[in-house]
Symmetry: C4
Subunit: 428 residues, 4 copies
């Protein structure tokens, strides 16, 4: 976020912007409704002059940022000529010297400064582009409509039958009905100049309409990108299933799975979002994402913070459905698993005997990695299981630096192995 | 899909929603057309009070789900304060205490509850987002139009010349012509307040219009995603052919191929859709997709279910056109093929002799894999051929676990080899 | 493309469709303008009856396709019930039995058959989806407008002041101005029923408008996909250059390069389009794309067709700009090059001496591949060069099967090598 | 860019185009407002005839391009028949022979030539497709509106009450209000022909509207693609963080990082843009992108230009945040780093001692690469650090060709190593 050196900067810019806006709304109205008043120098005129003059002096001083000067500021300082001319033209109270009301419109040049402030604010706020773009657009649209209405009123002439407010309101009403292509037709141009003005307004209207429609569509598409991504994924799978006429029972099971993914917030491919970050942030994010499993597994709770950080980067979530084989006896083992949620059963190779049922917080599959042997038992999910997987390479890389954890894992694995041996002896 | 514990929940929520909707339609109309009637307590008023009060008591009890409580419910229970205030304000029959008709509008607060129900329903139904979004939007649009019409009618005053129904219909007609930017101009605002109301309606209209156009475009694009994917693929190939000025005869053959793909429903890259699934679902889907070939090949029909499951995961469909060489004598063989549809001929290395013609359900290319030798014969497609391919690695992985199938394949291969030897001896 | 067994089928279907359309246009008009006439049985009535009855009998016979029956036909034959009812209702000349004109509208049911024909035609014509979709949409839009106009006319009543044609034209005019949201307001609904009809028309209009705008946008985007792809590529590069403020001289050279790519039609990544094709088509396409180089290189002109086919699949186009080093002396060589267009110079390792200048049709870089040695000379592009590259692996794979070409390439390489040796001896 | 052989070509084509446009605007207006004048041969008529006749003679001569003839020109020359007929019909002064004013419209055929010029210009200007497409569209839209207005005026008849200019303006006004779907309704068609003309105009209007809206949306999306890319990246990360409920402190740090990326213009994946370029351009771009680091590092400033070119292609920018470990003691080192901006500290393996603090222009991590040893020290970022990374393979590839640089790097590394040894000895 763009940070001014202090609140005074913000405050000052706000005062300048507000003054400019009041002038931008007020001067055209008075030009149309009360032409003579613009020729007189009022207190408000002097106030504007004061504010704009002060801004001219303060601006260069304000245009530095904490620490490193911003690219924008450097650019602005590089060509101060035009800005100076604009600031000057807006600040001079021409009314005091020449009684020529339209010269007051020069004060509206200061809007270029406001536009630049908004552009800078917009650049800083990269993070909500659609909303900010729409707000900025609506701001300029409202100002433009005001000017269009003033222009229409000046062409049409102020009707003495109704109040000034009603006159202005009807002009605004005509502009809006025309821009929005409603075109009731109760107020229509009569003179040639009015017709030309109407043509201009309509041309603007089509562009504005196109912009609004495009922006609304874009806004809609970005309200909840995570949901959109999930829906696209589901849509793709559904299209495939319709296309190949997958039977409806299987379809339902697949859709249930995706619903489970969404409810557990697991359908999002985090690697995509995380991979762009520098190492320290990546570690923080992984620590946060895997905090649940780290708090559950007794092994990790006791470990040093450094080990936890290292392991957090390596673990990857996987989901199994009830009945899925996670490990099959006889396979070559390349991963070990930590259970975050759900229950698994450890089965003998012939699947006749259940050796153990493991729950949330426990781990399995480490023996094949530690002793370099084939899987000795099968493991099957009994419920929806959220597991965290650690590959052989990750485990070895991490344990090399943390011999104390390596010793504890080996101890548990050794104990399990002995139990297995006893079981097998008992059977024979 | 979102499952309530039982039908009673659904029923009750439906009753509450219906009552709320009737009140939301009825109260504004009476406020405009029959202001006095709202001051009197009617039977319907007491009915609403009863229903809303009952809902306040029942809501916490209903807000649990079978098995695991939903994230939404937990969130809703976490901040019950605002909900309680809303429920209470909607339930109190103010008319009974204060004869102030506009207070009845507080009952419309209950719509927030209906909105929440719909939002929840929408979340559960992730699977048809475009249609549901449009339906929900049309529902709120209709309700909003009703309120806009009531507002217009109250500003404009009820004309005594025509019936109340006609009065309402004309107000609705004005709203719709304005929102849709048609703007006939037969009814136009006259007072300042009406003009402002019209401005508001027009501004809403542009947004609504943008939303409808964006939604219709999005709906159109998602009617048949499989077809859209295929069309994009064809479009890309056609652009390439135009660009490089491929002759029209070749173009036609290529387009014929894509038509064949589409008709046989083979143009869809299934790996994309299937890869995201957990193992058990992936197996089921592959079993289903390859069911045809599994039923056709005698070897598979006799095999155990476990073998069929294993092989289904490994086979990959390929298509050859008439005249394509599938295997060339002298090459190193890395795949074997099962014929799903079409005919192939087995040729001698010099292509002078046809050894055999194989049909749907037969397989070939296994010898190079089993005996680790170069291809001894060429195989050429005689027709459009839908084959299933099995790589050497897949075959070996699968046969290790199923020695009985390995033995049978080896026997057939051995027999074919002997025939080959005899043929070659005969020739010399 | 969908192929009927013969022209008779096409002809017959065309006759049925035309008859149905004439009836669909004619019957509503007569219902509004000449109600009584529908009660009389005319020759046209009997003609329709005849045609529709004949179609009922012929349809099952026609619904088979040459060779394999289409999926659509099978589906249609599977549930003939509804189709039979529709055909029957449309064929019976109710006017002959009951003098009830509106019953004639039942004949419009036959449009369901026309819709089905068009849907089938649309499915077959996967290849121009946007245009066909728009044409079909415009067809139904025109028919719908006709019906809407008839409906409006029947509500409004036929004005006796003007001719029947003018009456109809004004009704159509009202429908179009309303659907297109123009809404002049010279014709507005007056009775309640008319207002409701107008509301319906406006609602339709918004949907139709959304559809047209979405379709036009989609059509625009697909007029020339190759150009769009190229423009996106250029746009991406330009954004990058602006972003990193690449100096304008370098920018211009890069844009020149992309212009050259576009003019030579080389900017399209053909692998994307070709990779999806089965082997025989891929060969044909590669042969076509590389035909220029194959005709130019004397080595290839003399070779067998089989060799040319094999080499066409392996060659890959590359472009070098003037001054680019294609080969640097001392490097490990992994590719050889054939010159399609442009000139290159062969330089000594110290770049002091130009050994040779090679032109279109010649090749270089083969020595490092054949004799397994480091690059002995540098090669530099003198002009924009379109080369075709052949990797070591590709060359070896191809030459193994074609010893006669291998011998000739080796001979040329040998000769060049000797020249090199002589040159070096001369220098020392 | 499309380059004519000289300015004369440009000039001549401009004259022809301007003459054609004046005729295209003038002739329809005179046909409507001053029908008789078209029957007389004016000086302007002879001027047009002269220009068009001269163009017919000059065209073939002009249609060659510097160096290689353009594909378009070749196509145009291939079928000169139609072009000749068009040119002739436009050039003949029919008014001189036949006093039939409408024949003058044949001169508008020359617009086909102008259209072809613009199409060619558009093809050449691939580089700003959206803007050029919109300009071309607006040009034809303006011309079309002019013709539509003339047509309307001829149907409606010229009103003698107002001037000719007003007559034309009102016709144009009607066309614009109709095309833009505003439809005030103050001018509406009265005769049947006018109604049909209005229907045609409205139909055109819907298409034009769709086109404008689609184009505006497309233009908006392409104003700043680099920003759009960055915003999409940030949006994706934000969606992920919301989805997984990352705590807000961590969120803020991640967003700060992306803001830093954007401000430093480092968020753009340059490999994407650069990879498509031929070698010489790629080198130039890399030289430019890495110019900052090349100027800062003393080692590079002294090196030969060839070395700098080679190294520029190999270096890759990386960013580290304060506190990130860039190197950890004990790891296997595969990269060395050059500091572009920021400060790093070199720490002993136990992190108790700070060996050195390195600043912009210095390098580190070279020892592990040169002496094939494990990392002996840790390096940690003290600030936001923009580093350039060189892998072991890149370094070796480059140093082989530049032994003088290799010697200097080795010397510095040797010196550092001795310092390390001394430090370690001192400690013990």
């Amino acid at each position: 976020m763009f940070k001014y050196t202090n609140l005074y900067q913000w405050g000052w810019r706000l005062i300048v912007a507000t003054t400019t806006l009041v002038a931008a709304v007020d001067i055209p109205v008075r030009l149309v409704l009360d032409y003579q008043s613009l020729g007189r120098v009022t207190g408000f005129d002097w106030f504007i002059t004061l504010i704009f003059a002060a801004d001219m002096l303060l601006n260069p001083a304000l245009a530095t940022r904490r620490g490193r000067p911003a690219r924008d500021v450097l650019e602005a300082q590089a060509n101060p000529g035009p800005w100076f001319a604009i600031d000057l033209a807006a600040a001079v109270p021409f009314t005091a010297f020449l009684a020529l009301p339209p010269l007051q419109l020069l004060r509206l040049l200061k809007l270029a400064r406001v536009a630049e402030m908004m552009r800078r604010w917009q650049r800083a706020e990269l993070h909500n582009p659609n909303v900010i773009r729409l707000v900025v657009f609506l701001f300029w649209l409202a100002l433009g409509l005001h000017w269009l209405a003033c222009g229409w009123l000046s062409l049409r002439g102020v009707s003495p039958d109704v109040t000034e407010g009603t006159n202005y309101l009807l002009a605004l009403y005509w502009c809006v009905t025309t821009l929005a292509t409603v075109g009731y037709g109760d107020i229509t141009p009569t003179t040639n100049v009015e017709v030309m003005y109407a043509l201009l307004t309509i041309s603007l209207g089509v562009g504005v309409f196109g912009y609004v429609i495009g922006s609304v569509a874009s806004l809609l598409a970005n309200i909840d990108p995570a949901r959109v991504r999930h829906q696209e994924m589901v849509e793709r799978v559904k299209a495939f299933m319709r296309y190949r006429q997958v039977p409806s029972a299987l379809r339902q099971r697949i859709l249930d799975y995706y619903e489970y993914l969404w409810e557990k917030r697991l359908g999002y491919d985090e690697s995509l979002a995380v991979s762009g970050l520098p190492p320290s942030l990546r570690t923080e994010v992984c620590l946060f994402l895997n905090r649940e499993i780290i708090q559950k597994v007794p092994l990790f709770r006791a470990a040093s913070e450094e080990f936890v950080r290292a392991i957090a980067l390596e673990m990857r979530p996987v989901i199994y459905m009830p009945g899925d084989y996670i490990i099959r006896a006889g396979d070559i083992g390349e991963e070990m698993y930590f259970i975050s949620q759900g229950t698994v059963e450890v089965l003998s190779a012939d699947e006749r005997k259940v050796y153990a049922v493991l729950k949330s917080g426990e781990f399995f599959g480490e023996m094949a990695l530690l002793f370099n042997q084939l899987r000795e038992a099968s493991v099957r999910a009994l419920d929806y299981c959220d597991l965290y997987l650690l590959t052989r390479a990750s485990l070895e890389r991490t344990l090399v630096r943390h011999p104390e954890i390596a010793a504890r894992i080996t101890a548990i694995a050794q104990q399990r192995r002995e139990e297995n041996v006893q079981r097998q002896e008992k059977r024979h």
